[in-house]
């Protein structure tokens, strides 16, 4: 593997990993937001029921 | 000093308990000895290489033996809910740290005093005259292990898989102690004196002092109900 091969391997892995982490963050965040919305909705319906 | 008196009281209690039942002491002792046997089978040690490898092998044995001791360190308190009682009492938690640390230190030293000469016998080493220095260095290294180990044993007390987690967090942090002790022991075995390894000894002592202080100060937060 020539020198540029190693360079692209390194850069590829690094930026790939960062992108994967970024997407993982966004996905976890939207899941959490959904959960929060559900909890809040449930709380409100509880309030209404009372 | 109030702190030391309290620590002494707690230590006395634990020592009496331990010497009556001898659970930890015996298991640690047999485990340490067993490891020596395993090393003999695992490593094909020609006689001239043994002295070189002795510090590393001994310290591997002590690390694992010590971890056994740490795992059982707070066992008595956990079993009978004594921990809550201890924490409710007006005892300084720094004293609890000193007591537990000293307990593990004493247990490990008792094991080491037997295992080191045993190593010399089993592996046919000649340098019996160096044993006092060897023991002194081992003491300092064991102190470092017990200090950091006690803090982390308390930190991992409420964790799942605590027996696995403790070595996992402890060993990387122990690297200065491991390196320093092995370098000092190696120098003594090769040349009969520390010589160039003196900076390592200073590092070891520094480590002991720093984390002893940190332990006493931080134990308030470490051990909570």
């Amino acid at each position: 593997m020539g020198p540029w091969g190693f360079v692209f391997l390194a850069y590829g892995i690094v930026w790939g990993a960062i992108l994967v982490y970024l997407f993982s963050l966004k996905r976890r965040y939207s899941c959490a937001l959904e959960e929060l919305a559900q909890l809040r909705a449930a709380e409100e319906s509880n309030e209404d029921a009372k | 000093m109030q702190l030391l008196r309290e620590a002494y009281l707690l230590l006395w209690k634990d020592l009496v308990l331990e010497l009556r039942r001898r659970e930890s002491l015996l298991t640690m002792f047999f485990f340490g000895t067993l490891l020596l046997f395993v090393f003999h089978f695992a490593f094909d040690l020609p006689p001239d290489r043994v002295a070189d490898m002795a510090p590393g092998l001994l310290w591997l044995a002590f690390l694992f033996t010590g971890t056994l001791g740490l795992a059982q360190l707070f066992q008595a308190e956990r079993d009978n809910q004594c921990l809550e009682a201890l924490l409710l009492s007006p005892l300084d938690r720094g004293a609890l740290f000193l007591a537990k640390m000293s307990l593990n230190l004493i247990l490990m030293l008792l094991v080491e005093i037997v295992v080191i000469p045993l190593f010399w016998i089993l592996f046919n080493l000649d340098s019996w005259n160096l044993l006092p220095q060897i023991l002194a260095i081992t003491l300092l290294g064991t102190l470092g292990f017990c200090v950091l180990g006690t803090i982390l044993a308390a930190v991992t007390l409420r964790a799942r898989a605590r027996e696995l987690l403790l070595p996992l967090v402890l060993f990387p942090l122990m690297i200065p102690v491991i390196l320093a002790t092995i370098q000092c022991l190696g120098a003594v075995l090769r040349a009969g004196e520390l010589g160039e390894a003196l900076p390592w000894l200073r590092l070891l002592i520094g480590f002991d002092v720093i984390f002893l202080t940190v332990g006493v100060l931080i134990f308030d937060w470490v051990i909570e109900v």
Partner: protein, 236 residues
């Protein structure tokens, strides 16, 4: 309350845009603009990743330390969130540093791994902070987990100078006069064009780091809110 949330979202968005622009510029500068190294050739360009990565990792672990200290002192969830988030990012960047170092080492030294001081230290750092994350995940009680992690975060950070010293001494004593040279930073006789590329990439990494950190902190805040809601409802 809604307005401040909106502002934060916009701020994060701007930071993200800045970060990615800087990254793109850095990529160009590192891969195209900067000259190849006299000795190592183009492989040396990995340095534009490696050095910023490790510096980012160190910054991250310093933030873990700060967050841990603040949390033990004031017990505010926000500080615990900082420590946890910084630890996660720190582990990411440390792992990347090791991979980059290894890939750089292969053509330079002929081996994928060597126990030289720098790589060894980075590996130890990775072990310590992975342990931190494992500790957090293995303690069920939230508050205990936070306190225990804070103690570990402080002790880990305090130990690092000692680990640094011991590993460096160990490697210098044992370094055989062989072909394997330690990973020396080419500070002497550095081409200013290289330094410029390094600077740009460092800036890019910092911006990217703070962008990722802000996203991760936001996630932590939402999770904390979920937990406190659950707690107040008496469930879980």
């Amino acid at each position: 309350m809604v307005k401040s949330v909106e502002k934060t979202k916009r701020g994060t968005g701007i930071l993200g845009a800045l970060a990615f622009t800087a990254v793109a510029v850095g990529l160009y500068w590192g891969l195209v603009q900067a000259p190849p190294d006299a000795l190592q050739g183009d492989v040396q360009r990995i340095m534009y990743l490696h050095l910023p990565s490790i510096l980012t990792a160190y910054l991250s672990f310093f933030l873990v330390f700060i967050g841990s200290c603040l949390y033990l002192w004031k017990r505010e969830k926000r500080d615990d969130n900082l420590a946890h988030s910084a630890a996660e990012l720190g582990v990411l960047f440390t792992a990347l540093t090791i991979v980059e170092g290894s890939i750089w080492g292969r053509p330079t030294w002929g081996v994928w791994w060597t126990w030289d001081a720098r790589l060894t230290l980075t590996a130890i750092l990775l072990l310590i902070y992975t342990g931190y994350l494992m500790l957090r995940s293995l303690i069920d009680d939230e508050n205990r987990a936070a306190v225990s992690a804070a103690v570990l975060g402080i002790i880990g950070f305090l130990d690092i100078p000692l680990i640094h010293m011991s590993v460096y001494w160990w490697r210098t004593l044992h370094q055989p006069p062989s072909i394997l040279r330690p990973d020396k930073l080419p500070w002497e006789n550095v081409d200013p064009a290289m330094l410029a590329a390094l600077g740009v990439n460092l800036l890019a990494f910092m911006l990217l780091y703070f962008y990722l950190l802000s996203l991760r902190l936001r996630l932590g805040e939402v999770r904390n809110e979920i937990k406190s809601l659950r707690l107040s409802r008496g469930a879980y």
